[in-house]
Amino acid sequence: MTQPPPLRLHSTPDDRRIAALAALAIAIHVLETALPSPLPGVKPGLANVITLVVLLQYGWRDAVWVSLLRVFAGSLLIGSFLTPTFALSLAGACASLAVLGLAWRLNPLIPGQGLGAVGFSILAALAHMGGQLIIARLLIIPHDGLFHLLPVLMTAAVLFGIVSGIISQSILIHIRQE
C-alpha cells in the first residue's frame, strides 16, 4: 500500500499578507461585538479601518479579500454564521465593497489628490448601511416602516464613517512615513 503524497498548499507572500491583515480585521471585529450598542445595527465598524487601509495601500482586490474573510471568519468565531446577523453583515460588506470598487476606479479621474481615506470611508459606511437595510427589508422585516430608521442609521453611518476614515488616514500617514 502506497501512501498518498502529503498535500501541500503553497502560499505566496500576497496570501500571507492578506491573511495577516484579515486576522487583524477579524480580531477587531470580534472585540467590537463585546461593545454595547445603543441601537441594533449601529456599530462603529472599526474593522473597516483595516479594509480602508488595505484598499489605499494595496488596492481593491486585496480589500475584497480582507473584508470577505473578516465577514466569514468573524461570524464563525462569534457563532453567527448563516444567521440573519451574518446575512446583514455580508450584505453590508458586499455593498460597501461595490461602492468602494466604483470609487476606486473613478478616483484617478478626480482632479487634485482625489479621495482620501475619509471620503472612501463615508461612502463605504453609507453603502454598508444601505445594503444592510435592503436585505433587512427583503428578508427580515418585510415592511416599509423599517425605512423610518434610515435617518438615524445613516447619521450613525456618517459619524462612524468619518471617525474610521480619520483613523485610517492617520495609520496610512504613519505607514507611509516609515
Partner: protein, 125 residues
C-alpha cells in the same frame, strides 16, 4: 511623504454631500410623523378592517340601517354618506392624524386612524 493631510478636497466634498443627505433623510422619512397610514374600520361586531390611506378610493360598508359610504383621498378618510338621522359622522369631516376617530353610532360603523406613533392609548367621552 506622500500625503500628510487628513482630508483631501474631494473628502470635504463627500462630507458636505453626506451632510446635505442627512437633513433630507430626516425630512423625507420623519416629516409629519403624526400623519396616519391606515384606517381601522369597525362594522358592528365584525372583525375590524384595516384599509391603507395611500390609495384614493371609495368604500361602502353595510350596517344595520343601510350602507355608509367612506372615502379615502390624499391620505385622509371621511364618511361621505350614512343612513343615520343626525349625520354626526359626516360632519366629523376628514380624518388624517393619528388616533382621530369618527363613528356612526346608529349604523354601528366607526373609523380610527392608525399611524406609526399613536398619540393616545384610548379615548373616553
Amino acid at each position: 511623504m506622500i500625503r500628510t493631510k487628513i482630508l483631501t478636497s474631494a473628502d470635504i466634498i463627500v462630507i458636505c454631500a453626506a451632510l446635505v443627505l442627512l437633513p433630507w433623510l430626516y425630512s423625507h422619512f420623519w416629516g409629519d410623523g403624526s400623519q396616519g397610514e391606515t384606517a381601522r374600520i369597525q362594522v358592528a361586531d365584525q372583525t375590524p378592517m384595516i384599509i391603507p390611506l395611500q390609495h384614493s378610493q371609495r368604500y361602502t360598508f353595510d350596517g344595520p340601517l343601510g350602507s355608509s359610504i367612506i372615502e379615502v383621498q390624499d391620505g385622509r378618510i371621511r364618511f361621505v354618506e350614512s343612513p343615520c338621522r343626525n349625520q354626526l359622522c359626516v360632519h366629523s369631516g376628514w380624518l388624517q392624524n393619528d388616533a382621530e376617530f369618527a363613528a356612526c353610532l346608529p349604523n354601528l360603523i366607526s373609523i380610527t386612524i392608525a399611524g406609526r406613533n399613536p398619540r393616545f392609548d384610548s379615548i373616553n367621552f
